[in-house]
Amino acid sequence: MRAQIAVYVVLMALALIAPLLGLYPVFLMKLLCFAMFACAFNLLLGFTKMLSFGHAAYFGASAYITGWLVTVQGWGTLAGIVGGVAVSMLLGLVIGAIAVRRQGIYFAMITLALAQVVYFICLQAQFTGGENGLQGIPRGSLFGLIGLGEDRIMYYFVLACFIAVFVFIRRIVHSPFGQVLKAIRANEPRAISLGYKVDRYKLIAFVLSASLAGLAGSLKALVLGFATLSDVSQGNSGEVILMTLLGGSGTFLGPAIGAIVVVTLQEYLSGLVGSWVSVIIGAIFVVCVLVFRRGFVGEIERWFAHRN
């Protein structure tokens, strides 16, 4: 436990001073947004063992809605974020209600197919700008007081959101609700026989995960100033799975670390090796699935557990 606290303190300190080290703040914010996305996804995969293959839908839809509300409707930044999250929550409710009826690969494929529907809606709807996406989304300010245009200020805002989400997920997992989710993960028929309305619990987890993914998407849209089809694409759904798996699904820190590794790899490899990046990402996927299913943090935790 003490070791854990030490790790968190060090990571926190690193996160706080990172922009002062000369690291590019926009890139750091991108890392945080994807880390948040992966943590949200992990709530589903790691703690409930439901593999959603369409999480980009919530991330991207929220990015679009926030962008549209802020740019076209002139809403404030926070209102825009709330609006985006509300839409992804609703989307999660609809898709989740259909998907939780099935399990395993069926669940994965339903979420994938319905996410594809969201993709095509985003492609064709007027307000999303189709292939062009939404551009020039302003960051605005918090309560009209703190301008977010400055990269460093925006960074600390995004960091605060990330920490809040992280703590929230920890809280959920450790709550009685989280215990039921764990029970479902371990043995679903048994949970049913104990009288739990399993589908309802799963749906709540799904909606929560979708909403948090939406928050990550909204923030990403504000940070980078655009929302595009890449955000809702199948590739994005695949990447968040990889991040979670690589870092360690079912651990708290794993997905965040996985996200940092994957985004950094993409950013710096793409300059070096061009389109071979996707080959490398694919290869990591394969290795992860074959020999490394616990992920970085999962393996480290297991190693500590064995030593003690």
Binding site: A18, L23, G133, L224, G271
Partner: protein, 401 residues
């Protein structure tokens, strides 16, 4: 204790990483090239564009004001997010002084937002969308090679005047396609023609059959292809396959030399198209084409030559004002007449559009073609004003005031 050392190592690594980042160079002139290097438009500019920039830099002497000239280039993969974020990153981190934007209007519009936020001169070349100097104009945008308005005024009017009165458009589903369709529609209507319908095909569509059947069902005389690159060649090939070219006359609203080369004259003969430049216009263009051919093994397209010309014009402006200050350079560029291998009678209008002479061409028949790459004959020479109008675009916010 191993844990502690891990953290120390981690910290050290982060520090290293950070210091390697801070390399924004003040003693350099940094030219960025953001273009499609691998997809539907890769042949139109792509690596040939990078080569054209380098040719311009060599011709200029390799340095300006005693500063080294560096070129950065990236493949935007036709994704606006990649284009915009690379542009922003270079401006923030690499001391970018000017950027050349390759194909894809959607990406260019996204980049123009960054240009105005970061105040970096932004020369759009591959993109055709007229909105770049209209609703999306910025004080730092120059639209250099051609725009959808000129394409419509050239090709569409030539065809309507030949009797092609009813049109159906197959349009690439992004900013460029829709703006091209709008421009062509305006010209068709103004000349007494009618538009019977249109269909939007996603960028990179490979199977055009169902779109073409819709076109055929409309009963229009002219099949307006408001697309470009491989989208254009795929749609034209499918029109041939389904025998639609027998009943409808295809109109290429934008075709590049490389497209015609890939399609072969057998398929493309007789097409009308509008271009701002052709390699076989005069001695000067042929001389440039020869140098380019020696390096790239292809004749240059309009846009590749525009890359060359724009780079030179920019470097000349930097030299003239003695600084890379964006506002000073832009002011200098906007007051300079452009007459070079690319443009004749060119000047940059208040809204950022480079107005210059354009040509309506017709693709030769295989029999008319005398030597390799002998593809076009000039049908009409349009002055810049004829192609793009004599007034700046009133929808540009800079013009209103």
């Amino acid at each position: 204790m191993t844990r502690k050392s891990t953290f120390v190592a981690l910290g050290a690594l982060l520090g290293l990483y950070a210091s390697s980042q801070a390399s924004a160079a003040a003693d350099q002139v940094v030219i960025g090239d953001i273009d499609d290097m691998s997809s539907v438009y890769a042949d139109v500019i792509g690596q040939g564009g990078v080569e054209a920039i380098n040719m311009a830099i060599t011709e200029f002497g390799g340095s300006v004001l005693g500063k080294k000239i560096t070129v950065l280039s990236v493949d935007h993969q036709n994704k606006p997010d990649i284009g915009a974020s690379k542009f922003r990153e270079w401006a923030d981190q690499n001391g970018l002084t000017m950027v050349l934007a390759g194909s894809n209007t959607g990406v260019s519009i996204a980049m123009s937002k960054v240009a105005s936020a970061k105040k970096v001169p932004f020369i759009a070349i591959g993109a055709g969308g007229a909105s770049l100097t209209g609703v999306d104009c910025t004080p730092y945008t120059i639209h250099y090679a051609y725009d959808t308005t000129a394409l419509g005024n050239g090709t569409a009017s030539a065809i309507v005047k030949q009797g092609g009165k009813t049109w159906f458009f197959v349009t690439a589903d992004y900013a460029f396609g829709t703006q091209l369709q709008e421009a062509a529609t305006r010209v068709v209507l103004a000349n007494g023609g009618r538009v019977l319908g249109s269909v939007r095909a996603p960028l990179g569509t490979t199977d055009y059959s169902s779109f073409l059947l819709q076109a055929q069902a409309s009963g229009a005389q002219v099949l307006g292809l408001a697309n470009a690159g491989t989208d254009f060649s795929n749609s034209l090939k499918a029109a041939n396959e389904f025998g639609i070219t027998k009943t409808m006359k295809p109109a290429a609203l934008l075709a590049f030399l490389t497209d015609i080369h890939a399609l072969t004259l057998q398929t493309a003969q007789g097409l009308f198209l509008t271009t701002g430049w052709y390699w076989d216009l005069n001695e000067q263009t042929r001389a440039f084409a020869k140098r380019f051919y020696a390096k790239v093994n292809r004749q240059p397209t309009m846009n590749q030559t525009a890359y060359f010309s724009a780079t030179l014009q920019y470097l000349n402006a930097v030299k003239a004002v003695g600084s890379t200050d964006s506002d000073k350079v832009m002011a200098q560029l906007k007051k300079t007449k452009i007459n070079d291998v690319f443009a004749s009678d060119g000047y940059i209008r208040a809204d950022g559009l480079m107005v210059h002479t354009m040509y309506v061409m017709q693709v030769k028949t295989p029999a008319e073609s005398k030597y390799p790459w002998d593809y076009y004959k000039v049908i009409k020479v349009m002055s810049g004003e004829e192609a793009d109008g004599s007034q700046p675009d009133p929808t540009c916010p800079m013009i209103k005031k």
